[in-house]
Amino acid sequence: MTPTLFGRWQTRLLLLATVGVLITLPFSLGIIGPGASSEFFWILGYIALFGFIWDILYNYLQKFRWDRDWPGAFQLFAGIWEAIFMACVVKFLGLPNVPRELPLNGFIFHYSLVWLGVYIASQTLMRILFPRWRFKGGQWL
């Protein structure tokens, strides 16, 4: 991946709003995960929101790389970091509409599935549905 900042934002938003929502739906209905609750959708929203800020940092760090690229492994590290940050904020500071007693196992399970779904979609479906996306640093608009 060699994303631009706009590419990062656009891709994050689109994939969380589609793949993310599809994966969150069974969690919120209680089909999988710790039980029916709207908190999973709130978490998804916060991932998108905080992500907008993280993307600015990632884009800055990318400038230290000669190839100005962002390997899959870096996406994984970023994903792990964002999960730790989110869990800490929920547990220690609290976020509106997300209870502090959020079950950590359920959170990790939901978060991991969303990350994996988004990563796989970005490697496959995005290229097929948006043939220009990969040539425009991840911008689909």
Partner: protein, 659 residues
């Protein structure tokens, strides 16, 4: 202390193009990025000011002047420093300069010579090997360049001397005239990728004609790979996602190779490839596809899109506008025995003729002209298997010139030959040491043993990311600067190559030498390369049985008779690198006609809004931009590729069904 000369010669290869510059300048000499930032006079003496276009070069970077009768280089508080023979000059400090020294300023490697160094003629300074127009292969003695409009044999006919030709006049010649909607010239990979995208966008194969001399679109590419010692099972320097057979880049070559191994039960190998594309280039060596897999995938796509129906055998002689707002292409179908000419008329014409020529070092060209020895001194892109066969049988010394990817591959080939005959030595002659890699902003390219590393021939983000965007937004002068900073000769960081270089240097069969070549001579002991004397150490001679020039493919479009004719006939502007000036959509805007447009792709467009023009992915990018622009222009039969049509077309690709 020797007294300094009043004039010295500086010589360097322009980083963006590889073009040789050898100005002889009067002392004092100022070098910098900004002409006006350098002083016009110093103590009443006029200053020779040279502009070096790179962001790594300070506005006024360095001054070359005399000090107590000796020549010195004085750093002007430069941001990125000045290096003499690889040693950094203290900021604002000064260092003595001697004949034969090399000066590094940003991406520029400048050789210093007292007095004019060589007697090479201006023509041979940028010497080249041309492709034979009949075979498409590099040929040191090609037939005289035919494809000019004003040639004998009455073809192209005299009416091609006008600016616009009438289609009825073409018919009046009695020669065959064919009309199509889309014509692509070259019929190589650039043409194929363009035609492939047109087919996917709804155009029928009967609407497209591809003019070239080889039915396989990868024919010349494959031959150049084989010549430069990349056998079919070896890997190309290309990304996993750069699939000239598949515009979506999915499944990528790594996924295909992983799948191929997984179904045979080789799970470890399969996972290895997937790990590579996940972690490259930081935690794993960059994945690159095997040549044979790329060619096989192209064979499949050739059949799927009906390339055989689009291909026309022919060598294009001239292209003209027609009076009805289209273009007429005059081409020769002559094969041995009989002469056969024809015309093709189309509203949309695409030029993808590839590299006009191969660069060849002028001193080697001079040697060849003098001795007519085309066997022991070769270019890496010429067929030269005989060199390795001879080495394997009899041993000997081979010299490599140049330090790019081709040089790396030849070092590997010589290493393989050494496994059969340990009596083989390798001398790698480089112009100057490479103490540090190019810098850009907060990043720097890695250097090891004077090789500069980069996974591909441009930083990755030139294909699609930030750097692509930056270049597109830049003005023509900034573009040159960016291309100089990102370009240059690099090789891939392959563990096997690193190991071979380390071993070779340690065991002594591989040696790296530096110097500017004065001349190359045939002597009883072999082929002798004379290096410019350095610091009065006397003349250096390097002996070898063979010399391989691995400096690369590169040339201005004027080296191609066809393009030169087009450029001069229509007075087309060239970009600062001497290539075709194209819009961001790869259109030759000056050639626009009332009913049609002309596009170009590949190496002939370097220097515009896109750097990585000469790559599989770059050709796909150019095709996407061109096809989208033609769609906006309502070209016949094209439908814009949207989410749904793209998905449907991808399904057809998977099912191997005609688009």
């Amino acid at each position: 202390m020797n007294s300094a000369p009043l004039r010295i010669q500086l010589s360097w290869d322009t980083p963006a193009t590889g073009e040789r510059r050898e100005p002889t300048l009067a002392i004092p000499i100022a070098l910098g990025r900004d002409f006006n930032a350098m002083p016009a006079q110093i103590q009443g003496r006029p200053v020779s000011r040279m502009v070096l276009n790179s962001l790594e070069v300070s506005r006024f970077h360095v001054l070359i002047d005399t000090d107590s009768g000796a020549l010195v280089v004085i750093d002007q508080n430069s941001r990125n420093g000045t290096f003499v023979n690889g040693q950094r000059v203290a900021t604002n400090g000064r260092t003595l300069l001697a004949n034969g020294d090399s000066l590094q300023i940003g991406p520029y490697q400048i050789a210093i010579a007292f007095g004019a160094r060589t007697q090479l003629s201006a023509a041979s300074r940028n010497s080249q090997i041309f492709f034979n127009p009949n075979t498409g292969l590099p040929d040191p003695n090609p037939p005289p360049p035919l494809p000019v409009a004003t040639t004998t044999h009455n073809f192209p006919p005299p009416l091609f001397q006008t600016l616009e030709v009438a289609v009825q006049d073409l018919h009046a010649t009695g020669l065959p005239v064919e009309e199509v909607d889309y014509a692509t010239v070259g019929a190589g990979l650039g043409s194929f990728v363009w035609a492939d995208l047109l087919r996917i966008s709804g155009v029928k194969s009967s609407q497209i004609a591809a003019l070239g001399i080889a039915p396989q679109p990868y024919s010349r590419y494959k031959q150049l790979c084989l010549n430069s010692q990349i056998p079919l099972h070896e890997r190309l320097r290309s990304n996993s996602d750069s699939c000239p057979d598949n515009i979506w880049g999915w499944p990528s070559y790594a996924v295909r190779e992983a799948w191929h191994n997984a179904v045979r039960g080789h799970w470890g190998t399969a996972l290895g490839y997937l790990w590579q594309v996940f972690a490259e280039p930081t935690f794993a060596q960059t994945y690159t596809p095997r040549a044979e897999n790329v060619f096989a995938s192209l064979d499949r796509e050739v059949k799927r899109i009906g390339w055989e129906q689009m291909f026309r055998y022919g060598s294009v002689r001239a292209i003209r506008k027609t009076t009805d707002g289209r273009y007429a292409i005059a081409y020769s179908r002559t094969t041995t025995g009989y002469r056969n000419h024809a015309f093709l008329v189309a509203p949309y014409v695409h030029l993808a003729t590839g590299y006009p020529a191969i660069k060849f070092l002028p001193d080697l060209q001079a040697y060849r002209e003098k001795t007519q020895d085309f066997k022991s001194v070769v270019n890496a892109y010429e067929p030269h298997d005989h060199v390795y066969q001879h080495l394997e049988q009899y041993g000997g010394t081979v010299m490599i010139r140049g330090r790019g990817i081709v040089a790396s591959r030849i070092v590997q080939r010589v290493y393989e030959a050494r496994l059969r005959n340990s009596n083989i030595r390798l001398v790698h002659l480089m112009r100057s040491p490479k103490p540090q890699g190019n810098k850009f902003g907060t990043s720097q390219r890695r250097v090891e043993h004077h090789y500069e590393f980069q996974p591909f021939n441009w930083p990755k983000a030139c294909w699609s990311g930030e750097l692509r965007e930056m270049l597109e937004k830049a003005d023509p002068n900034e573009r040159q600067r960016l291309i100089a900073d990102w370009g240059g000769t690099t090789t891939a960081l392959r563990h096997d190559w690193q190991w071979i270089v380390e071993q070779g240097l340690k065991l002594g069969w591989y040696k790296i030498e530096f110097g500017e070549v004065e001349r190359v001579e045939r002597e009883p002991s072999g082929i002798i390369t004379y290096i410019q004397e350095k610091n009065f150490k006397g003349q250096i001679r390097l002996e070898a049985d063979f010399i391989i020039d691995a400096t690369g493919l590169d040339a201005k479009v004027t080296a191609s008779p066809l393009l030169n004719d087009l450029v001069t006939h229509y007075n087309l502007p060239l970009n600062p690198l001497g290539r075709l000036s194209v819009s961001n959509d790869f259109e030759l805007v000056e050639m626009r006609a009332s009913r049609g447009q002309m596009y170009a792709a590949g190496a002939i467009t370097l220097g515009g809004s896109y750097a990585a023009v000469d790559s599989f992915l770059g050709l796909q990018y150019a095709a996407l931009r061109a096809v989208d622009a033609m769609t906006t222009n309502k070209a016949s039969g094209i439908r814009r590729l949207n989410g749904l049509s793209s998905l449907l077309q991808w399904g057809k690709w998977v099912a191997n069904k005609s688009p």
